[in-house]
Amino acid sequence: MIRKIVYSIFLATIVLSLVMFFAAFPFGQNKMSVGEYYLNHGVAQTGASNIVTSVVVDYRGFDTLGEVSVLFGAAAGVAILFFVLGENRRKRREQVAPNFIVRVGSRIIFPFILLFGTYIFIHGHLTPGGGFQGGAIIASGFLLLYLAYPGTTVNRSRLSMVEGLAGITFIVLGLYGLLMPESSFLYNFLPKGELNALLSSGILPIIYIAIGFKVAAEFAGIIDDMMCEVICRGGEK
């Protein structure tokens, strides 16, 4: 009883302090001067029509590199936890085979999901979307395959090869900018092109495609680890 009272006071304090803090920022009034600068100069400096993409990949590209490595760390953590520490596995449980419509329908729809994800991350600098969203959509396509055919495995060595190549592309493109006369990491050395064309804004689409492949491979790896823990390797050892 006393602990509920203590915690309620704690929660009320937190909410009250948030309300008092955000009373100084009225909703929908003004924006930060940094955002104003990016909106006014972003198109001329990066050539991408989606300003969010130019902030994620160009202005704060180093941030995104760190974020992708955090994602890699989490995926590696899941793999380590399940394959090194998880020893006493349980028996393989009875799998109910999915019905005919699920199997055939997933086989028909799987290439279209891959196509849609690819479209999303290729057009990341023009329309809403980008590497993170497209990668997640491709990973959910793999998830559909797992649900329709229990016991599917993806080739893990090829998956990690895709992941590594995408990461290397990102880092090599960034380091190549250091050789330019301006000499900054992730310097945009390719021509900008015209606004709203597919081949525009220099290295931004290439980096976003690399991020898309990397995110798709990481999430497919996480799903493969968790599903395989239940289904494929249930009876081994």
């Binding site: 915690y7 969010v52 899941v78 520490l85 329309t127 809403p128 993170f132 999430f219």
Partner: protein, 113 residues
């Protein structure tokens, strides 16, 4: 204004879940609510009244009528990190269940009072 209030209450609900609940899966769901509430709060800070999305899809859109792009970019990366971190948390929960045979956090060496 409603967005601020909703995100505060969502953060409070998530904190309540993390503090009070005894089930490990429920605690991870509470972490998810805190993350979603913070994302909603950050995006709603950058909103401008009657603004448009920060995409120059046509020539001649006024940049001063657009919403702030920086909170959106920060939130975009935060969502992906949240998902991977939750996968790690669920992996820990599964291993804890294998070791102790229960999801009740009171029985796992009394982690809460």
């Amino acid at each position: 204004m409603s967005y601020y209030l909703g995100s505060f209450l969502l953060i409070a609900i998530g904190l309540y879940t993390v503090i009070i609940k005894k089930n490990l899966i429920k605690i991870v769901i509470g972490l998810n609510f805190i993350a979603s509430g913070v994302n909603l709060l950050i995006v709603s800070i950058g909103y401008v009244k009657n603004g448009t999305a920060p995409i120059f899809s046509k020539i001649g859109i006024n940049p001063s009528a657009m919403v702030d792009p920086i909170p959106q970019a920060l939130t975009l990366t935060a969502i992906v990190i949240d998902a991977s971190e939750l996968a790690l948390a669920v992996a820990f929960v599964v291993l804890l269940y294998r070791h102790y045979g229960t999801l009740d956090i009171k029985k796992i060496r009394s982690l809460k009072w």
